[in-house]
Amino acid sequence: MPTTLTRDQLVALLDAVAADMIRDKDELTTLDAELGDGDLGRTTEWGFTAIREALAGEAGAEPDMGKLLFKCGKAFADKAPSSFGALMGAAFMKGGMALKGKTTAELADIAGAVQTALDALMERGGAKLGDKTMLDAMHPAIQAMRGQSADAALGAFFEAAAQAAQRGAEETQHMQSQIGRASWQGERSAGKMDPGARAIAMMLAAAARHAV
């Protein structure tokens, strides 16, 4: 029987991931201070706090998983309007649109939604794979999700994605930033990990920890 994620599980999972991201924000601040402007921790705190507030309010009562994610994305972008915030907001919104009408999702649905989110990011931000952005963590994560069988345990599914994302994030150390603030460092950006990519890996690792 294929593994599913119910609406209620999604709410709990989002809330737990958000809580972890808020707790662990300082690592992202440090990475972003190296490569950008050091506000990524503040951005994730604002954005995930907005998600938790949305979940505690109207959005949390939304039966449609897609609409629920869309509302979370809007809250994120409104309250954390930086590059990461705008992009992550768009990712949740577009990912939500891919799940519209669903009250449970199978693993393939999840992978598909993340792919839709990735496409949206590329369109919105104009970055390509290899530009040293969060895309470089999301793309291998989707591959890893796709490599799981439909009845894999939720935790294992996210764990595989998280590990792939982390490898992707580490790979960014060998890249030179082509877009966004970090690109201003030119060659000096090499050797440093992209903070957005690390944020993706952290989110997926948190999802693996809390998926039940």
Binding site: A33, G36, D37, K79, P81, G125, S183, Q185
Partner: protein, 336 residues
């Protein structure tokens, strides 16, 4: 580097409330949104509206240039953070006088993506014609072949001035956009940081510099520069800021507007010391200073350091630069 504030979370709302209380005849909040500051007389019927937007902590940038002869409005973000789509959209709507609105702002990812969203909204929902011009004047942030990638710093003030004067001439949206682009094609900046600043909600400096260090080319949010080194003399610093500008934009035989800008803590005295050197140095390169701007025009709170901005002038830019302008933070009357 201590701060006079109450709750760091209220830093921006409180300063905006103070601003509106101080200048009620000149500024107002659009549609009750404190983060959407517009001219008290907005919208000006028939005139192209010009707005900008960006993070707080750079006064007079950004909202300090809202007023006669410059901007019609400004979307205001938290400290060093982009305003939201909604705030940009409200600002756009409030300054729309029927002739279209120019979005003129610095090339920062968050701002770019959010202004794009706001432009879509204003076009779709209110039929407002939108034009967009990005400021990307900091030569330290990318080489010439990636010039479009550069970040926007103090050069935006010249763009505000030129576009604002052109809009006051009741030019069309396309003409105002062209004027802003023309100004920016002739504008370059470069800065140096001597000491950091603290974002209130972060509470500690984004970067540190040794007691005898400076960083050439550093960005206004502490983005790394091109070179960190021993603190040098005013003359040496000035030369290291102007040379990359001269290399990027040949100036021999030209007249320029020259801005010598403090990032915050650096006092005016030191700007005049730099200016004193630059007058002679530029003369030796056959460059004449038509109009100097010396002061605090684009800051990073209490950051120590300075930046130079050059706009190469032609007759049109001179006419528009010389036009009067008046905001609560910038007054340019008839005197030089």
């Amino acid at each position: 580097m201590k701060k006079i504030l109450n709750d760091p979370k209220h830093y921006v709302p409180e300063l905006l409330q103070g601003l509106l209380a101080a200048h009620p005849g000149r500024l107002k909040a659009a549609d009750g949104e404190l983060h959407a500051i517009v001219r008290a007389d907005a919208p000006v019927r028939g005139k192209v509206g010009i707005i900008t937007g960006g993070g707080s902590g750079h006064l007079p940038v950004f909202l300090g240039y809202v007023g006669k002869g410059m901007l019609d409005g400004c979307a205001v973000g938290d400290v060093f953070a982009s305003p939201s789509i909604d705030q940009m959209y409200k600002t756009t709507k409030a300054v729309s006088g029927g002739a279209g609105v120019l979005h003129l702002f610095g090339n920062y990812g968050g701002d770019v993506m959010n202004f794009a969203g706001a432009a879509d909204l204003a076009t779709m929902e209110d039929d407002i014609e939108i034009a967009t011009v990005l400021v990307a004047d900091d030569v330290a942030s990318a080489p010439p072949e990636r010039a479009k990638n550069r970040r926007g710093v103090a050069g935006m003030i010249f763009a505000f001035k030129i576009a604002g004067a052109r809009a006051d001439e009741m030019a069309s949206l396309a003409e105002v956009k062209a004027a802003a682009e023309h100004a920016l094609a002739n504008t370059r900046s470069m800065g140096v940081a001597l000491g950091p600043c603290i974002v209130p909600q972060v509470g500690k400096p984004t970067f540190t510099l040794g007691e005898d260090e400076m960083e050439i080319g550093m960005g206004i949010h502490g983005e790394q520069g091109v070179r960190r080194g021993k603190l040098q003399t005013a003359d040496e610093i000035a030369q290291q800021l102007i040379d990359p500008i001269l290399a990027d934009m040949p100036l021999a035989g030209s007249e320029i507007a020259l801005m010598v800008n403090s990032l915050g803590a650096t006092p005016l005295e030191e700007l005049y010391i730099m200016y004193n050197y630059l007058v002679g140095y530029l003369k030796s390169k056959d460059v004449r200073i038509y109009r100097p701007y010396i002061g605090r025009f684009a800051t990073s709170m209490e950051m120590a350091g300075a930046s130079l901005t050059v706009m190469k002038l032609d007759d049109e830019l001179k006419r528009l630069l010389d036009a009067p302008a008046s905001t609560p933070f910038f007054d340019q009357g008839q005197f030089v």
